[in-house]
């Protein structure tokens, strides 16, 4: 399959296939960046895939005190789901259980516009048991909910975008686990510099890429055996003999352009690291192009 080699790394002539999703964003602040990050991490810990978690979510960027509504350090979190109703449910459950509970936290809308609105504080305010206070400041409305360390301040709503894209990906292949991981880590680090994208898997990396379907009833997805190095001799493997480890980066973005930009940045980082220290080959996952509307051809992204 490889037709293009850049800096000694084979780039498959293939494309990543991605899907339309609904997405929202919030900004979590706290007295310190450590506690803002803690709340963000807690609310996005179990949010790697819509298949089993209801949504895909992760911290997108750190916000300086000058960039947040209350002048405290913050973290912007993006959430993606397949429907507005599911996104609303995931947002309020996760903010209610993980942000409201986190010491000193406050929570604000992370999108300034969109096709629709989601309840944020409007869903959480009932925790105040009647002691909650609303405060409208210009076009924005905030809830103040009394809690044991003071008040939980939460903006009433946040916006929802229907232009989001989920499922952009890179499949990174190398001759050892360590080198493959090094290349993938470099790619994730570069992708974090791109705005409006998240990589929802642990540390941005998935080691258990899946295919659609299973031999077992009731399982909608199962291991991507064509990319499992220990099955190279047993299946019609996609891997050549020198490949011993494969990792995947899944990218969700608020726009298709953001996903493309992140894939471009990731590829550049892998290529820059080179085959001696990193990957031998990069591919991408798709379903033949029939399921997802967004196709990202690797050859277009390395030019």
């Amino acid at each position: 399959m490889p037709e293009l080699t850049v800096n000694g790394i084979a780039i498959d002539d293939t494309f990543a296939e991605a899907f339309d999703m609904r997405a929202t964003a919030i900004v979590i602040t706290a007295a310190t960046e450590r506690w803002a990050a803690q709340a963000a991490e807690t609310m996005t810990g179990f949010a790697t895939s819509v298949i089993g978690c209801g949504c895909e979510a992760a911290a997108e960027s750190v916000r300086s005190p000058q960039q947040t509504p209350d002048g405290r350090p913050g973290v912007r979190v993006l959430l993606f789901a397949v429907s507005t109703a599911e996104l609303q449910k995931q947002l309020q459950n996760r903010v209610g259980q993980c942000v409201l509970t986190s010491p000193g936290s406050a929570c604000y809308a992370g999108l300034d516009s969109g096709e629709d609105k989601l309840k944020l504080g409007d869903a959480i305010r009932f925790f105040g048991d009647g002691w909650q206070i609303a405060k409208r400041l210009g076009a924005r409305r905030y809830w103040r909910v009394p809690v044991m360390d003071g008040e939980f301040v939460c903006e009433s709503t946040t916006y929802l975008t229907k232009k989001a894209v989920g499922g952009g990906n890179l499949i990174v292949m190398g001759e050892s686990s360590a080198k493959t991981l090094a290349a993938t880590e470099a790619a994730v680090k570069a992708m974090h510099e791109v705005a409006d994208v998240i990589m929802p898997f642990p540390g941005g990396i998935a080691r258990s890429g899946s295919k659609v379907g299973s031999k077992y009833n009731g399982a909608s997805a199962s291991t991507n055996d064509l990319y499992c190095p220990t099955l190279k001799g047993a299946v019609d493997s996609a891997l050549s003999p020198e490949i011993a480890s494969v990792l995947e980066i899944v990218i969700d973005g608020l726009t298709s352009e953001a996903v493309a930009q992140a894939m471009r940045a990731g590829l550049a980082a892998i290529i820059e690291l080179g085959p001696e220290r990193g990957a031998l080959r990069v591919g991408a996952g798709n379903y033949g192009g029939k399921l997802g509307r967004h196709h990202y051809h690797l050859k277009d992204l390395v030019r």
Binding site: I133, K135, L137, E151, V153
Partner: protein, 271 residues
Amino acid sequence: MTPLTFSLRKAPDQRLDLSPLIERNLAGKTVAEIERIEVGTTRIRVAAGDVFRIREGDPDTIVIEGGSARFDRVGLGMTSGSIRVEGEVGVEAGRMMSGGQLTIRGDAGPFAGSGMRGGTLDIEGDAGERLGGPLSGETVGMSGGLLHVRGDAGPRAGDRLRRGFILIEGRAGAYAGSRMIAGTLAIGGQAADLPGYLMGRGTILLGRGATLFSPSFGDCGEHDLVAAQLLANYVAQASAKLARLLRRPLRRLAGDLAALGKGEILLPHAQ
């Protein structure tokens, strides 16, 4: 853009109702037509041209040169544009306004900003009693917008305030924020007796406390409130002095517990 200018010829002989002199009423009219607009309030008829020398200009920007305590209802019901009065005004300035900018370069009489729903009312002098408050028979006072008084305000400022901001840089008379429904009233100086009397919800900031507090407010202690930072950022657009007060630790008094009791008086930590 040349403003439409009304220059006072001489002190008026009767109270004047200047509510017709807003953009919505004047757009498309010639100076001669504007001069014929009735502004009198007694049996002696007075037209705008009798009181003012009118210079042609854009009615979106109106300037009234020379003020009088007999200029009533300036900017009543205005929805857009700007009106600037180079002097004092009488009662009900900016009453029921819903947009635009009304600037009074002097004192304003009672009921300034009464029932206003939006826009900005800026009073550079003092304001009379019941700033933003409802007239008799009305149930709700100011319900939106920004009312900014650079000087002092009379009794019952913010009576029945429902939404929006009233900022008073100076002192306030008795019963400031009486019967407040919600909204925010910030007073830089000292308030007279019983601020927040029977308030249900809302926030009253008192930069220098009050001469007497109602016993029906409960002391909730001193706090660094995140919400106060949001308030401060918003208030800072109009008043740096009041915003600074909100950035200090604040003592919170909950009340009025003789009414709904979900309002608050915030007292900045003394420096």
